[in-house]
């Protein structure tokens, strides 16, 4: 088969000729206008962009009062696992809209409401009424029934939600993931 002649459709580009003369004043002026306009666009554009990106900061510590249920749900002397709906939930949150917590009724009008999140790294602790202990499955942190640290790696006792009694119902201030930076 005969060797095909390579066809070059385009001539190879000629070397660029750089004009050695200084730029005319109008071109320099236009360039400066361009820099100024793009800087303005960048500033104007970045304000809403940064505001959008940083918007979670506005709600980072935002707690709201949520109803847990009638006090009769929580017998005196017992600790019960219950759940409430995250006050800032969105329609697409699915199962993550619900938040679990432990309610300990110390006396008829005294409560402790603990977050389930271990203060070490946030794993869910489990309540054992027989021994009166909360145990964490991740790294073995243990807390007493009043939430204070019993043993293991947790740096402090369980996080406690603020609570209120309103017309015979128990309310807590929730909606923030409890961490050492935002204790419930």
């Amino acid at each position: 088969m005969e060797q095909e002649q390579r066809v070059v459709d385009f001539p190879s580009p000629a070397p660029l000729r750089i004009d050695p003369r200084p730029p005319e004043p109008r071109r320099g002026f236009l360039l400066r206008i361009g820099i100024g306009l793009s800087a303005l666009a960048a500033i104007l554009g970045s304000v809403p962009l940064l505001g959008y990106l940083l918007s979670p900061l506005r709600t980072a510590g935002e707690r709201k009062w949520v109803r847990l249920g009638p006090v009769s749900d929580f017998p005196v002397g017992e600790t019960r696992l219950t759940t409430f709906q995250n006050p800032s939930y969105q329609a697409w949150d699915g199962p993550t809209a619900m938040v679990p917590c432990y309610v300990r009724r110390v006396a008829s009008d005294r409560f402790q409401v603990f977050a389930v999140n271990c203060t070490h790294l946030g794993c869910p602790v489990r309540w054992f009424p027989e021994s009166g202990l909360f145990m964490c499955p991740c790294h073995g942190g243990v807390y007493y029934d009043n939430g204070s640290r019993a043993s293991g790696p947790p740096p402090r006792g369980l996080f406690e939600y603020q609570w209120q009694l309103r017309r015979g119902e128990l309310w807590v201030r929730g909606g923030v993931l409890p961490t050492l930076a935002t204790p419930a």
């Binding site: 095909e4 979670p56 949150d93 699915g94 993550t96 938040v99 021994s131 029934d145 790696p153 740096p155």
Partner: protein, 488 residues
């Protein structure tokens, strides 16, 4: 095999416009030192091949996956069970992730031991470190994409670590979660990072990395005693290419080609045999009977966080990553010249060996964590008959107390039960009755005090049982004085 006329015509037509053929020919034929055509030099290209596989399978999975907490788990189930080959694509993507991290680490160790980060390849190494961080970022965000209970609590662990940062912890948690709590906006932003941001950065960093490998040249096989000097290296490398160089294609490329294909086959085989990863239980935070665990490449961290002394934890969580990444980035400037061969760099070999052994040991511990109490040992694990045989009613009552008060969750008897505390098969050999009572009532730094949750009769029964726990022929511990003397 002669190329059909129409095909070569098309090629010529395209290249006349694109003018890319010359670049490809240059890259393919660029000379590399003959001794780099070695099986030791295939891990980088192997990692690259897996990355491409991840892009392809990731794009295909994204056609079905729904990145909202309400539907993500169901869409994963649909991929696993309803959509043709969905399970296989998930499996390839999951195993590909493991292979990619593993190959990258092997590549990095090889490059480190061969001194490839030294002059003039500092920037190649730095781009590689960036690629390591981005790949780990993909692995972590990918674990969140598999939105199950582990992913939910994994996010909680990430937020808890961020929450330890002084002053700005609350803001960092907010930015990580996209709000005050793990919810819809959290998964959306992890999805954004996993499919847009990090892959984009990954492509950019890979381009820089590969461009540098081609432009600066692949590291020659290190010869002991042939030291790198900024004055002579470049000329010597050019001479080496001239005198003992081979074209990249086919001499060196052939091995990359074979290895890359084998790696893909291995991923496909793992995917076909072992199937996809999860998803585990629904991402429902109210299902708290769960034992969250990270994926294999973060198990070492999970283990380290159990083993560190409490007062070191926050500094290490916050400072160690910064120091580690800084050391990696600065490495080519700390030891940018001199000896390259691992045969004359025993410290470097030791560092790799110690790191590998350390990570392997922590990972193994993370898989079989002795510090995690098995939460059902108290109610579900049988007591071995020899440990009950011949006991008095009081002692049997004590065995019941032992089980009922969850002691078994932390203490093993007869080899079963928790490993958080010591096994108690021989406890009576070391502790006297008074010491046992004190330990039960007051606890210690590592054991809760049970004083408030045991009746005196329960303590008496429990200690009576514990006193029977000593091997036949080895007497129980006892004090020299009568027990009526007050203890210490």
């Amino acid at each position: 095999m002669p190329m059909p006329r129409w095909l070569s015509g098309l090629g010529t037509w395209l290249d006349a416009r694109l003018q890319i053929g010359g670049v490809i020919r240059d890259v393919a034929s660029h000379p590399v030192p003959r001794n780099t055509a070695s099986w030791w030099y295939v891990f980088g290209s192997g990692t690259f091949v897996i990355m491409v596989l991840q892009f392809v399978t990731g794009i295909l999975l994204a056609m079905v996956y729904v990145p909202t907490p309400g539907e993500a788990w169901q869409s994963l189930q649909a991929l696993n069970g309803q959509i043709a080959f969905g399970w296989f694509l998930r499996a390839v993507h999951g195993w590909g992730s493991n292979f990619m991290v593993a190959l990258l680490l092997i590549h990095m160790a090889q490059v480190f031991l061969f001194g490839a980060y030294k002059y003039p390849r500092e920037l190649t190494w730095i781009a590689g470190v960036v690629l390591l961080l981005l790949t780990l970022g993909m692995a972590f965000t990918g674990q969140i994409m598999r939105f199950d209970g582990d992913a939910y609590w994994g996010l909680g662990i990430g937020a808890s670590m961020m929450g330890r940062v002084p002053f700005v912890g609350q803001w960092l948690v907010g930015l990580l979660l996209g709000g005050p709590i793990i919810a819809g906006q959290t998964l959306s932003r992890f999805f954004t990072f996993h499919v847009f941001v990090v892959p984009g950065l990954l492509i950019g960093a890979v381009l820089v990395h590969v461009l540098l490998v081609v432009k600066v040249g692949i590291n020659e096989w290190p010869m002991p005693g042939r030291l790198v000097s900024r004055k002579t290296y470049l000329a010597r490398y050019q001479r080496l290419l001239h005198e003992d160089g081979v074209p990249f294609v086919p001499d060196a490329f052939a091995r990359d080609f074979v290895f890359g294909s084998l790696v893909i086959l291995a991923v496909l085989a793992c995917a076909a045999v072992f199937g996809p990863f999860g998803p585990a239980e629904r991402p429902d935070p109210t299902l708290i009977d769960t034992v969250p665990k990270p994926d294999i490449f973060f198990l070492w961290l999970y283990a380290a966080l159990a083993l560190l002394p409490a007062e070191l934890e926050t500094p290490l969580i916050l400072i160690a990553p910064v120091v580690g990444i800084a050391l990696l980035l600065l490495l080519p400037f700390i030891s940018g010249t001199g000896e390259k061969s691992w045969k004359r760099r025993p410290m470097e070999v030791l560092v790799v060996a110690v790191l590998a052994a350390g990570f392997a040991a922590l990972t193994w511990l993370g898989r079989h964590p002795p510090w995690s109490p098995p939460m059902t040992a108290w109610s579900g694990t049988a007591l071995p008959p020899p440990l009950l045989h011949g006991r008095t009613p009081l002692e049997l009552q004590g065995a019941l107390v032992f089980q009922n008060k969850q002691c078994r969750n932390c203490h093993a008897l007869g080899g079963t039960g928790g490993k958080r505390g010591p096994p108690l098969d021989d406890v009576a050999v070391d502790l006297t009755k008074d010491q046992l009572i004190r330990q039960v009532l007051q606890g210690s730094g590592e054991m809760p005090a049970y004083g408030n949750h045991l009746q005196p009769a329960e303590v008496a029964a429990l200690v009576a049982y514990l006193e029977t726990l000593h091997p036949a022929g080895v007497p129980a511990a006892r004090v020299s004085a009568p027990s009526s003397v007050p203890g210490p």
